[in-house]
């Protein structure tokens, strides 16, 4: 046999089994088809998550209160048009909530809030709290509230307290 694979039919003394055995793929394909059907039927296509918040006046951990005494309290007032951040006793300039892009389309703008929180985090260092209170006005949409909570959590404030705005 010149250059080819020995297939065992060259007429040797011991009868060798042929090497070109075919694997039976039919059961494998059946298994695949069943698995795919099961996975498609049980698939959850929309990924839903949750943002955990606390309510002002709700139960809180006393240990947390002790640690929070050393930190600066953060409060964010959310109105329909702007955000007013207060760190300790000092208020930061109000940040407009909606910006207009080049096409004249209005969109929610939280870049300034993110930047301000980052700046404050760098300034306060050890005094940076884990909690922020969001005082929300009645006219604020759920979407705006969720986006602000998301930004706060992303900025290292995992304990978000939501309360209605006073006055």
């Amino acid at each position: 046999m010149a250059g080819g694979m020995d297939l065992g039919d060259s007429g040797g003394k011991g009868k060798k089994k042929p090497l070109d055995t075919a694997i039976n793929l039919v059961p494998f394909i059946d298994l695949m088809a069943v698995t795919i059907s099961f996975l498609i039927m049980t698939a959850v296509w929309t990924q839903i998550g949750r943002l955990q918040v606390q309510q002002a006046g709700g139960p809180s951990d006393p240990n947390q209160e002790q640690t929070e005494q050393k930190t600066v309290p953060l409060t964010l007032l959310i109105t329909e048009k702007e955000l007013k951040l207060t760190a300790g006793g000092s208020a930061v300039d109000p940040m407009p909530l909606v910006s207009v892009d080049k096409g004249g389309k209005k969109k929610l703008d939280l870049i300034k809030l993110t930047a301000k929180l980052k700046e404050l985090k760098a300034q306060l260092a050890d005094q940076w709290p884990s909690q922020i209170t969001l005082q929300t006005e009645d006219g604020v949409n759920y979407e705006v509230l969720v986006q602000v909570i998301d930004e706060c959590m992303g900025a290292g404030l995992p304990n978000v307290t939501v309360s209605p705005a006073m006055g």
């Binding site: 698995t35 795919i36 959590m153 995992p158």
Partner: protein
């Protein structure tokens, strides 16, 4: 003259041609081998993709066409807890917005917006019932797991805080203090940094 098999054949001139010099348009072999390798490859890729996207918790929150959830990235996984759904009124029917607790309608958003009280008595009562049922079942099963007071609020992104605060207040009054806002998880989502101290269970 040689004896030849009867049938159609090309002329003598083409008898030495590589293409037409054979036996004419004979029958094709009946044994057609199907190429299974690409099929198996495709199946393997689909299975891997589906397994990667498989959610062990299943669909905890049912998506309704009346509720469009806002997007967020720093989210946690949703648990099986009572769900308060707040839908947005349609443009055609301003009274269609509803507050729904685990499938049963509690009230109309338009009516609730007019009232000045802070709680929603029907929601509060229903939640208290659910809490009692949960605690009774746990007592029967002698389970050590206490009531954690978790509730999911699944509201349309256009719902005003005016309604949300009433829902939240009612939940808290009924003993459900750990409020979770349902959101759509956007790409690049990650677990939020862990709290310094976990919120206390009621």
């Amino acid at each position: 003259m040689p004896i030849v098999t009867p049938g159609f054949r090309y002329g003598k001139r083409l008898s030495k041609s590589r293409i037409f010099g054979g036996h004419g348009p004979g029958k094709k072999g009946t044994y057609a081998d199907l190429l299974i390798t690409p099929l198996v490859d495709m199946f393997v890729i689909i299975v891997l993709f589906l397994i990667a996207n498989f959610s062990a918790t299943g669909e905890v929150l049912s998506m309704s066409k009346d509720v469009v959830l806002p997007e967020a990235s720093n989210v946690k996984e949703v648990d099986m807890v009572p769900v308060v759904m707040v839908t947005m009124p349609n443009k055609d029917d301003p009274t269609s917005g509803q507050v729904v607790l685990s499938g049963s309608v509690i009230g109309n958003v338009a009516d609730l917006s007019k009232e000045d009280v802070l709680n929603i008595p029907a929601l509060e009562e229903k939640l208290r019932e659910m809490k009692k049922q949960y605690e009774d079942l746990r007592a029967l099963a002698n389970s050590a797991d206490g009531f954690k007071g978790d509730v999911n609020i699944q509201a349309d992104k256009g719902v005003k805080f005016r309604i949300l605060k009433r829902v939240m207040f009612s939940c808290a009054t009924a003993g459900y203090n750990n409020i979770n806002f349902a959101t759509l998880q956007v790409a690049g989502a990650s677990e939020p940094p862990k709290a310094a101290a976990a919120p206390a269970a009621p």
